[in-house]
Symmetry: C2
Subunit: 176 residues, 2 copies
Amino acid sequence: MKALALGKVYQLLEPGPVVLLTTARGGRANVMTMSWHMMLEFEPPLIACVCSGANYSFEALRATGECVIAIPARKLTAKVVKVGNSTGRDTDKFKAFKLTPVAAGQVQAPLIKECFANIECKVVDRAMVNRYNMFILEGVQAWIDPKQKNPKTIHHHGYGKFAVDGATITLKSAKA
Amino acid sequence: MKALALGKVYQLLEPGPVVLLTTARGGRANVMTMSWHMMLEFEPPLIACVCSGANYSFEALRATGECVIAIPARKLTAKVVKVGNSTGRDTDKFKAFKLTPVAAGQVQAPLIKECFANIECKVVDRAMVNRYNMFILEGVQAWIDPKQKNPKTIHHHGYGKFAVDGATITLKSAKA
């Protein structure tokens, strides 16, 4: 994986892809599927996300204050759904779904080798955790896999229905 | 336009489409382009969004506590970029870009006729406005245009580059 400038992280998350969120607690890694996230600031990248208190990852995220947001391309769709339909309480999802954890640089949570981008994050604001299960993350290091060219991300419409990125349109814009 | 159950609003926003946000203040309507939004709760639908203090819409949203999130399909991409590259300070964007305002049911901000979905929203939490320009909205009424079949939304990758929805994948999911 190759380092990605933190100022470019918004280009990955702003389009609303389904992502995987990894955590690690007590030496045990876990991964969940997440679609409720948004950018809050360009650089350093601030990201808001909702991790339901019903998710096993919630306690790990709250306790450790660290996670990785890993972005899967289309070919991982079936695994993304399996990750979303299972729980780390009784399953080692990395092993069960053949996802490869890779040591991150600045957080204990692992990168996912099969994802085309990985963003190491630290929780920087917990003010909205109790009210909305909303965490504010700062992206502290980002990685892309240069071998995955033009990855097509997936976008969740509910109940296992996804739209895959199709055509690209580029128009002149004065702004980011 | 046809009423949409509020419990289905998340299916529109969770996939991360670029949206238009309308406001109305002192009888004057305005519209901006927005990509930084996420779902917070299914029903009633709670939506977090970032409206930069640099945007003319920011003051209208803060003062009135009302807006409409209108979702454009692919054919409106050029207008979406024009809306994003101009400001309501000196431009009546509805007139300039031939967008048709339609009276909403519960808010002063207008619906946009050309959009395939419109969500009337009220600001319900301002605790994060000062720190992140983040507003928490509740969707109070939603509309879809049944004449626009299978609308393809657009997803912003920065600097006027958009991915358009392509193929649809449906897999068995145990969850929403």
